[in-house]
């Protein structure tokens, strides 16, 4: 399928997850997107899955402690200034689960976009705002590039007999990783300028017309938003 309607479909599913009001509906959408992610090769999918599932899990764990909603109290803890008494109630738990599923669904929609869509063709499909779309496509490639850089830094450390251990050891790699990605982006910007990027009068490689699958995907995107808003 061509990337523009596929991106629209993913956007529709993410919007449906944000508009839906029932936890089961949102969880079903997240599960569907998770299944699509799991079809990608392990080496490519894991950073996205760790990011999506990890952030959703963190939201689920933290939300009951910062919200104060009535319901059956499962646990009651100490009183903390500003936050008040820490407790976990049934309403807070169900709300946390709902929001965690929402976050997971939106993150997984992005993961499917990053893992499965042909970003080149998405850039070429952009009739307007080509620069912005190119920036998004390049940013999408940042995750695997950072992963490669991080592996390289760890390998160079291990090559000196040093094993980066624990969260602190890994966290020390963040600053050089960030600096490295800035250096890389400068090199890329230089190469792009040398190849005429930004020059007025640019043209585009012609793209084939949309077929039935693309039209169905676009209709599916609209349908997902409507169904999400009205019935889910």
């Amino acid at each position: 399928m061509r990337p523009a309607p596929a991106a629209a479909l993913l956007f529709g599913l993410a919007a449906a997850a944000l508009l839906a009001r029932h936890t089961v509906s949102v969880a079903a959408l997240a599960a569907l997107l998770l299944l699509v992610c799991l079809r990608a090769p392990v080496s490519r999918r894991w950073p996205y899955l760790v990011g999506a599932v990890g952030s959703a899990a963190a939201l689920f764990v933290l939300t009951p402690f910062v919200e104060r909603l009535p319901g059956t109290v499962y646990w009651s803890g100490p009183s903390i200034p500003v936050v008040g008494t820490l407790d976990v109630t049934s309403t807070e738990l169900s709300g946390a689960l709902f929001n965690a599923c929402r976050l997971a669904a939106v993150s997984l929609a992005f993961a499917v976009y990053a893992l499965w869509l042909d970003h080149d063709r998405l850039v070429q499909a952009a009739g307007f705002a080509r620069r912005s779309v190119l920036a998004v496509a390049l940013a999408t490639r940042l995750v695997p590039a950072l992963e490669r850089d991080a592996s390289g830094l760890v390998e160079a450390l291990r090559g000196r007999g040093v094993e980066p251990e624990g969260l602190r050891g890994r966290a020390r790699l963040l600053s050089p990783l960030l600096a490295g990605s800035l250096e890389r982006s400068l090199n890329l910007a230089e190469a792009m300028e040398a190849r005429g990027f930004g020059r007025p009068g640019a043209t585009r490689l012609p793209q084939p017309r949309w077929g039935a699958r693309e039209q169905v995907a676009l209709a599916g995107a609209v349908l997902a938003v409507v169904v999400g808003a009205l019935w889910l």
Binding site: P41, V42, S43, D118, H119, D120, R121, V123, Q124, L134, L138, R141, P144, G152, L153, E155, A156, L157, R158, G159, R160, G161, V162, R172, L173, P176, A179, G180, E183, R184, N187, L188, A189, E190, A191, M192, E193, A194, R195, G196, F197, G198, R199, G201, A202, T203, R204, L205, P206
Partner: protein, 454 residues
């Protein structure tokens, strides 16, 4: 009439007190192939960037003099405006790739310069065909080998049919065969079209046979400018290593001591389950220097990582005695700390005295307090070397330590390695001349994964 010229060009990068180019005046004729030589940091890449307009437009800095390409003054015309007239192939192909698919990557420049849409695909495919890479058109760039990717990048520059083609050390990541093929191809295509080619190289033996003219830069100054015949004589007098077969790196008497590392029938495969190494065996003894050579993709780096303990074999046995260290191909991976001294001390539990000795051994005295990222590319390479020398390893594994290194620095490195007679050293390299200069024994890893003594 000259296609491109510099007149009294001087340039210093922002924040640098030392000019990268000093009063350089050069004329480039159409159809001429010009080889630019010089030590690391002598200004070769900066000169090429000046012809592309990237200096000063992209980098900023202090610029004086004049650069003209096809009648366009580069100070008044931005690099994007010069694109098409000028095309540049940079050293590291991974840093210049914008798109994920090969055809789109080659088409990118054509789109930018406003090629009529109906012609774009045809010209991109034609450029890929001319470099023997038409079959790669639909592939992902991430799936390509280093040689394939460099050919795709060459196709992207040739597709523009430039009048001036700038090749900045385009073969530094390629084995000798692939490097020869790439240079011959680029120059043949350029000659067929009457393109002026400027090629900077650290392995000048091949380009010498096919270039017309040689420029030699020394500390940013043009020390020599002449035809290739005269250049050979001048280099023999002033910089003989640029035209010799490696040079003498000192006496090294291998002691053939105890075995430090033994790989016995080792096989290895990455995630795709394709065997990279199949039943490879090698012994490294204390006191000897072994060079491992072979074409791109033959498994040299994998074998080196197995020897250093960075990978575990799929089958077979690896025995090691003592501490190994491994120098990565990319010196940009040795930038974890804020000071060069602290960076080197990472591998020795913060022992600053040992780190200081290692920095001195590689000639980086005075750089202790500088940030690793502020060092020049040559200095970064030496810093990385110091980082793996500091622990005084029993087995030193160096992966392509001469990438982008000039012949004089290579000889210094060979002398440094040969001065030690107590550790086992494994040098993975494409550079056969360096292998002959430094090693007691050369082992070749052929495409069929067989190891053989050379």
């Amino acid at each position: 009439m000259a296609l491109a010229r510099t007149e009294g060009l001087s340039y210093a990068y922002p924040g640098s007190a030392v000019p990268a180019l000093r009063d350089v005046s050069v004329d480039l004729a159409p159809g001429q192939v010009t080889l630019v030589l010089g030590r690391s940091g002598s200004g070769k890449s900066t000169l090429l960037r000046a012809f592309a307009g990237l200096v000063p437009h992209f980098h900023g800095g202090r610029f004086s003099g004049r650069v003209e390409v096809a009648g366009l003054d580069t100070r008044r015309h931005h690099p994007a405006r010069l694109a098409g007239t000028v095309a540049t192939l940079f050293q590291d192909p991974e840093d210049q790739v914008v798109f994920t698919r090969v055809l789109n990557e080659v088409a990118f420049g054509l789109e930018n310069v406003g090629t009529p849409p109906r012609q774009i695909e045809g010209r991109a495919l034609e450029a890929l065909r001319s470099v023997g890479a038409e079959h790669l058109a639909g592939r992902l760039v991430t799936e390509l080998s280093g040689g394939e990717l460099q050919r795709v990048c060459l196709a992207a520059t040739l597709a523009l049919e430039p009048q001036l083609l700038l090749l900045d050390e385009p073969t530094s990541q390629l084995d000798p065969e692939a490097a020869k093929a790439l240079i011959e191809l680029a120059l043949q295509l350029a000659r067929d079209r009457g393109t002026s080619v400027v090629l900077s190289e650290q392995r000048p033996v091949l380009p010498f046979e096919i270039c017309d003219r040689v420029l030699f830069l020394e500390d940013g100054r043009l020390a020599f400018d002449g035809l290739v015949g005269r250049a050979r004589t001048w280099l023999e007098q002033h910089h003989p290593l640029f035209v010799s077969d490696g040079g003498w790196a000192g006496v090294h008497r291998p002691t053939h001591g105890q075995v430090t590392c033994r790989l016995d029938g080792v096989s290895f495969a990455y995630e795709d389950n394709l065997l990279v190494l199949d039943s490879a065996s090698i012994e490294l003894r204390r006191g000897e220097i072994v060079a491992l050579v072979g074409p791109n993709g033959s498994g040299k780096t994998t074998l080196a990582k197995l020897a250093a303990g960075l990978l575990e074999p799929l089958s077979g046995r690896v025995e090691r005695r003592g501490r190994p260290t491994y120098l990565s191909q990319d010196p940009g991976r040795y930038v974890l700390r804020e000071r060069a001294l602290d960076e080197v001390a990472v591998g020795v539990d913060g022992d600053l005295a040992a780190a200081s000795r290692a920095l001195a051994a590689v000639g980086l005295i005075g750089c202790e307090d500088r940030h690793p990222r502020d060092l020049s590319s040559g200095e970064r390479e030496r810093l990385a070397l110091a980082a793996v020398l500091a622990p005084d390893p029993d087995l030193l594994v160096l992966d392509e330590p001469t990438r982008g290194v000039d012949p004089e620095r290579k000889l210094e490195l060979a002398a440094l390695l040969r001065a030690n007679t107590t550790r086992a050293t494994l040098v993975v390299t494409h550079d056969v001349l360096f292998a002959k200069t430094v090693a007691d024994r050369i082992v070749s890893l052929a495409p069929d994964r067989e190891l053989a003594n050379v």
